[in-house]
Subunit: 400 residues, 2 copies
């Protein structure tokens, strides 16, 4: 049948045939809602029952044909296949996938337009009571079931070939693990914190630890990780949490995903001092952030341990002494990666609205330096924290 | 042109066209010297100048066609491509490759029939004065140039896909890292050492450390490793050292290759007490083995450091504090893997002639227990040895 580019008319019929969401006679309405650059994104709704709707994301032909933009082609495939796996392993915690069509480079999925991006919600000071539990579950299930613990090691090695993602890994290797630690051209460093950034550049022990975390990112095929799980890759309502945008997916260290979401909560925590000037509210929201930080780790580790106890029966891996050591090592990784993710958002290329939207330069610098100090301690002490409460004590010390 | 099975006649012409070893008019003689099971192996010699000879190894069609023996097909390809890379990165330390023909599943390489298998040479008590230097160089160059340090990380990720080797990795995962640590059906445990073997099975801390080394073997894509570099995979003369049989090759932890050769030297060391009854000779040869053990690590680490200093210019990796930490971690890995390799050869399925050929059961048991005790200490203390001399002190303590 081959590839044809969908338009608002053909997308309606495509959606009707590829899902059972709509009745055969349903009166459908379709709107293109993407930025039109690499993908077309269509939202199709049943006019007679607006609760019935789907989204179709289709990779554009120039992204598939032009050799000079090789990356987007494979990126679309990887994103689609990641979404299929997330829906399988974590139903309800990622968009539901109705169809993935390799020929059409199209994926038909749940419409999440009633959700908002978590980062925006947190900046507004909205609490999401399900967030800790849902993210902890998402992390535990998506990581466990794509590791040698939760899947056949032979199949895992074959699956790994499908998720070799060099171009997007390179972006992370540079922007997260290299550029923030020297005077790279594309760093973005506010003049008020230049001295503090340079302090990191002279700190050979810190740079050694970051290099070790980078090496682990580049070599440890522990599980199929999301690869970019910051608060901009999670959609929420107070009742629902959905991981999204897994185009950076590859087999890497589990701690990188855990640390991504934890580190971004701490970035928001640092920003809340000034975004919520009323003192009682501010304190309360910051406590919510820290309890979510703790809750994500606790749900993750409890659930990961439960999955291990339920599914792992091989002689070497069913040893509880090994299991607890494994979880301790995940904890150290997660805190270390959280520190790396925090640092790159303060001095690196792609910064975050949480901090950027603080208009007063001195106030912003205070928050930025607090983040850098917290991050350094996360990275340097990650092996010696006895508990998540010890980690939170470091946040409280630097982000008063 | 497609595939045809070579015979002694066609192999001669094949060798003539694929290499420049023979003159056009040379009178060639050819003999099939393989076991004929999965491969044909032809040795072709110039009758007029017997110093001119090559070997052709061709994978047999049933190994290529029969689905039930999928492994050998990919095994032949991986072995050939590994040999090509070893010849490229370590000229002189692996067989010279004249041609690799993907259609014919044939590789034309240097004839090594003047060499013998290192294990056999050591059992005879032959010293190889070049061994430490050559093996150290082979390890340093083959590992460095296939790691993210010595090659472009983007290319490394693509190369990794070609060396996914699930079936052969599974053999190692079972025989090296699992079965020796419980009452597996295919273990082979002499009655005299049954109690000592069971001691390991009850040692949860030892089993945890082995599980960590297993996990690293299964997940750490650090470099393209040989994967089976024991003393049976090295061909030697007093003047020459050639690594061979890299069919287990895949991207794994460097320390696994280093530990394989080191552990097998210690197995021979344990056996020499009885194979060389004359005391002065015995002591002298055992000292040679320990100085080779030390020399391999020292050459490896010195050469690896030199390659790093020469080739690595990226900001995070050129940090000498990181470099020294990296080499320290390789040291711990190498000693840990040496311990795993020693243990599997005493209680696991595939044992070694060094130990097996000790006929007196009590004497053999003494050697076996000495190896198990040494191995346990290698595995448990690998992170705390300050130097290779400290490791050698452990050998001397247990293998008097």
């Amino acid at each position: 049948m081959g590839y044809t580019t969908l338009n608002e008319e053909t997308a309606k019929e495509y959606a009707r045939t590829k899902t059972s969401v709509f009745a055969a006679e349903a009166d459908l309405v379709c709107k293109e809602i993407g930025d039109g650059n690499l993908n077309m994104v269509f939202r199709i709704e049943d006019r007679g029952d607006p609760s019935r709707s789907v989204v179709i994301k289709q990779s554009l032909p120039h992204a598939r044909i032009d050799d000079s933009i090789h990356a987007p082609l494979d990126r679309a495939r990887i994103e689609s296949e990641m979404l299929v796996l997330h829906d399988k392993h974590c139903p309800g915690l990622a968009p539901k996938i109705f169809d993935y069509d390799r020929e059409m480079y199209a994926i038909v999925m749940e419409d999440l337009s009633d959700h908002i991006v978590l980062r925006k919600g947190l900046i507004r000071g909205t609490k999401y009571p399900r967030l800790a539990e849902d993210m902890g579950q998402f992390l535990a299930r998506s990581l466990f079931f794509t590791s040698d613990l939760g899947m056949d090691p032979l199949e895992k090695k074959e699956l790994q070939k499908r998720f070799v993602n060099p171009d997007l890994c390179k972006i992370t290797e540079d922007l997260v693990f290299s550029n923030p630690y020297f005077d790279a051209d594309n760093n973005k460093i506010d003049p008020e914190i230049r001295d503090r950034a340079e302090e990191n550049w002279r700190d050979e022990e810190l740079k050694k630890e970051v290099a070790i975390l980078k090496e682990k990112f580049m070599t440890q095929a522990q599980a199929l990780i999301h690869g970019d799980l910051h608060t901009g890759s999670v959609f929420v309502t107070p009742e629902s949490t959905k991981s999204f945008d897994p185009e950076f997916g590859f087999f890497g260290p589990m701690g990188f995903d855990i640390g991504a979401i934890l580190g971004n909560l701490i970035l928001n925590h640092a920003s809340q001092l000034w975004h919520k000037p009323d003192d009682a509210d501010r304190k309360d929201f910051r406590e919510y952030l820290l309890s979510t930080f703790k809750g994500i780790w606790e749900t993750f580790s409890t659930q990961f341990r439960a999955l291990w106890e339920e599914h792992v029966t091989t002689p070497m891996e069913s040893n509880p002494v090994y299991r607890e050591d494994y979880i301790e090592r995940l904890f150290a990784d997660a805190i270390g990666y959280a520190g790396c993710k925090m640092t790159r958002r303060i001095v690196g290329l792609a910064q975050v609205e949480d901090i950027r939207s603080i208009e007063d330069a001195d106030v912003r610098a205070t928050a930025q330096i607090a983040v850098l100090d917290t991050a350094r301690e996360f990275i340097m002490k990650r092996h010696s924290f006895a508990s998540i409460d010890d980690v939170i004590a470091v946040v409280r010390k630097h982000q008063k």
